[in-house]
Symmetry: C2
Subunit: 636 residues, 2 copies
Amino acid sequence: MGPMYPPIERKATTFDPAALQRLLDGDQVEIRNQVKKLITQPAFRYYDGTDIDGYRTQVLRWVKQIADTGIGRIGMPRSLGGEENPAKFIAAFETLAFHDFSLVIKLGVQYGLFGGSIQLLGTEYHHQKYLPDCASAKLMGCFAMTEIGHGSNVQALETIAVYDKESDAFIINSPSYSAGKTYIGNAGRDGRVATVFAQLEVNAQRQGVHAFVVPIRDENGKTLPGIRIEDNDVKLGLNGVDNGQIWFDEVRVPRIEMLNRFANVTDKGEYVSDIESPSTRFFTMIGTLVGGRVSIAAGSNNVCKSALTIAVRYAARRRQFGPPKSVSVGAGGSTETLLLDYPAHQRRLLPPLANVFAIDFALKHLIQELAAKRSEDMRPFETMAAAIKAFATWNATHTIQTCRECCGGEGYIAANRLAALKADTDICTTFEGDNTVLMQLVAKNILTELKEKIKGMQPAQITRFFLDHKINALFKQNPLFRRTRSDDQLLDSEFHLTMMRFRESVTLLACAQKFKKLAKSEDAYTAFTTMQRELLDLARAYVGRVILERFVEVVSTIEDEPVKKTLARLCHLFALSQIELNRAWYLENGVFSGAKSRTITQLVDRLCREVRKEAVALVDAFGIPDACLAAPIALD
Amino acid sequence: MGPMYPPIERKATTFDPAALQRLLDGDQVEIRNQVKKLITQPAFRYYDGTDIDGYRTQVLRWVKQIADTGIGRIGMPRSLGGEENPAKFIAAFETLAFHDFSLVIKLGVQYGLFGGSIQLLGTEYHHQKYLPDCASAKLMGCFAMTEIGHGSNVQALETIAVYDKESDAFIINSPSYSAGKTYIGNAGRDGRVATVFAQLEVNAQRQGVHAFVVPIRDENGKTLPGIRIEDNDVKLGLNGVDNGQIWFDEVRVPRIEMLNRFANVTDKGEYVSDIESPSTRFFTMIGTLVGGRVSIAAGSNNVCKSALTIAVRYAARRRQFGPPKSVSVGAGGSTETLLLDYPAHQRRLLPPLANVFAIDFALKHLIQELAAKRSEDMRPFETMAAAIKAFATWNATHTIQTCRECCGGEGYIAANRLAALKADTDICTTFEGDNTVLMQLVAKNILTELKEKIKGMQPAQITRFFLDHKINALFKQNPLFRRTRSDDQLLDSEFHLTMMRFRESVTLLACAQKFKKLAKSEDAYTAFTTMQRELLDLARAYVGRVILERFVEVVSTIEDEPVKKTLARLCHLFALSQIELNRAWYLENGVFSGAKSRTITQLVDRLCREVRKEAVALVDAFGIPDACLAAPIALD
């Protein structure tokens, strides 16, 4: 019958895909290769049944196998034989995302959330007691924060932990149905213990949300007294993870089981904390868990790479329609047109391809910052992490959907993997912070920064600050600038950066003014709610600028000329397609003439045509093992 | 433990939801109610297993139960006891889309595709022989057009049917792997016979694609000699449908089994057809199947209604964050803010809600036209059907995704149904014509119409035509028009229509000029390929205008004043959010000043705030039975 699919067209490229892959692999090449070696072994063949319990069993088996290689110790303290190397851990984590995403999430729950909360919120006692067994996956654990009634507003959780002086213990209760913990990974089946977030009450005084280590099942997996667990059952995706709901009825844990790095209950039964403000305390605790956001962004961006690899390779072998008299018969001899040669197809796949590179570099920077663990104010870092998490996960959802559609019916067949990539990552826009909520947080943080900046200024400096801004704005709106549309300007990263920064700063000042006006008659919550659209615009402007800055920075440091040229082109495509997406703003604000705006659209077309020639080599440079891709439409 | 979810907030509305539902149900209220009665019976409880064979068995059982009610006869010829009422059939079909979409698709395959091809491409012999058993679902059939190598370009199918004079039969062959029929519903398990599309060869001459009725399995379900079938296996969704692949090896069918309405092979072994051009013949045959496109659009729009009902109702009961000192404890007493009261949430859900109404009315018009079966040129109708199918199915994919995200983690739980709604309709953007291909077809048809219009004109008329256009354009670009931003203008449907028509006509003339220029040096295929982006812009401008025209028309005929006012507001929201989406075009072309464009954005915000008050009543008016919605988060 001949081959199933015609060969993938591979064009000669000016750059060496292996050199680009080295750049993407970066410092962490060793752990990446180690993980790839593991997940391409026969034991890691994808589960292809539809039975959920079988799937969960398979994923647990994989978790144990991975734990046996010592991955769980990478992030742990040196004192316990760990490496204290979060950058390496995230590299392992994101490489695993080339494989089954249920496995990635279950590992994330075990090490990032359960292990991470013990390590970052607990102290020596908890580290000694729990971390070694967590690392070896002997003790499977949960991170029980989210409740049925509160997912985003976790400061308002309902679960209560009342300190009982007499027994020197906390009594944990779920006062209502909606107080039930939900979506808790490992709770459905495998978890034995949970980090439980609850409102702490000591001496009849509420102290806000704190975390406690609570056993939920005995060694044989039997639910402990006072604990009620219900399975979250079938989900849209991630069915290899045993999510469950937990309610507590008078569950007692000894005082020592409170994770007491930031606050404690003394043996005299008194609440103490070095952080005075309950709100600051809460956000300090939560802030330590920011690594989860970075990891999810990195993981979903790597899933996105898999989807693009499948869709680009298929577009480089699938032919449909063609010039008059094109031969269409048979797998080999067709002279119909490759999908990848259609401008519409290029437009759908190649700007997302540029996005994935852009996000990758931005994340590498974030991970460096995370690993550096600067002791100063963490807020700028948290702002960036939240924004990039939202951008990366929305991009993944949107891009994987596009890849499915670009592969037509083949994209709908489970064997071609896009179904799983799509379903499993879909929740990334929600968990570790709902994207819409995160983006508002981002905007509020930026506004706060501005406020603090202005606060420190002398009146003359403030006048100067706004004047500079005004002059800047007038320059961008002058007719000469508005109309210039030479390649020299439009294909210059300085122009792109200027445009992105300008939009961000104008949007920021407009938001600041609007907030000032609204705050005269309304509380801050109501004012921010009223201006949600504007806040989201600001956050989008911010994240585009931040990501572009990293991309431009990375390109400027590359020494391999052909790789540099290729990435510079992708960087232009990223920048111009982002500017094109927001061209209405530039037109509304008199920064672009109509003709200039149209020229940018044409330039995006042209860049797509150019990137198309290297598209297959670009996805090859992601270095995703064939055994992981697995899709017949994407394999030679 | 108290109730699972707080009550759904239902505000008093000025209009009567029942009156709006009557408008939506229209003439076909009786069949709609009949179908609803059926699918809310206990036998129609959703299949909640994960076993695919069990699911298929369940769906087949439902198909038989529905067939027993006589639905299969609605579309069939009167001579066979049918009603020949396609409008009624589509009403039944789209109402079934409130239930399991696998069932809808399996029924669509059986009646629309298999039965439809027999009825519309065949003649009396075929009708008598196949239609009664098709209607009763005693004979399950397939529609075997798509091949592995050809989905969009079906004119280039590889399957061959050679007429053999000696045996007075056709010999059907699949010459390669890629010639295999694929994605054929009912082929995986239940089908006994298939309408097979193949290149007809008579006396060594190719005559293009024709259809033949070919038995594929015997009465016991055993595959017949010469037939090879492989299951398409697990898919992203629609796993209740048994899709399969079919290859033919020297399969003989008697001459009489060719569906010979438009072409025939005589008993002398000669090929005859009243339609001379092979291309016209092919598109005439394919054109008869346009009802499938309309049905898919209607079905997916109704699934979209289910998704919006779930997301809007959830947003009217779910509270998160709130003003300072808001009470957050418990399901009943919370004073946190309802999601539906957040402007960002309104922005995400309410323009899609307006879209669904707009599409519904456009489809009602299409269905009327289809039922009227005008014998004149079908092309304008086909253009409209293709455009609306693409618009409706993309809107469904995008909207259901938004609904999932708006319901957060709850949206990811299978029991809340959004997972199935999303997965099952995802393929609608691909099948019955890939949307991107359809939209190009739409643009080409519009260009052809323009060409024919100009062809019939005297030179003076042509000059006048372009002059009118120029004057029209200049008027829209005059400073007065550009700057006006009164409610009187911006909330006037005449203004919306003018804007939509203007964009369409400018885009059309630009396309015509570009094509003329390109066609000087390139063949039409290459010229069209080069200008794909522009063609897609044109098709989008066209479909927006067509849908708005219907919406405005419907509103103008409503007599119930409160309903009219509500729908007028939705119509404005539809129009302005479409114009906002395309505001860059209006700015680029000097039609809007920056301030006017910003005012439109603010107006969309305002309309969202207004529609929010009626949102729950609006989704209630869809009249979707609770048993079909089934999502706990959406039920009182």
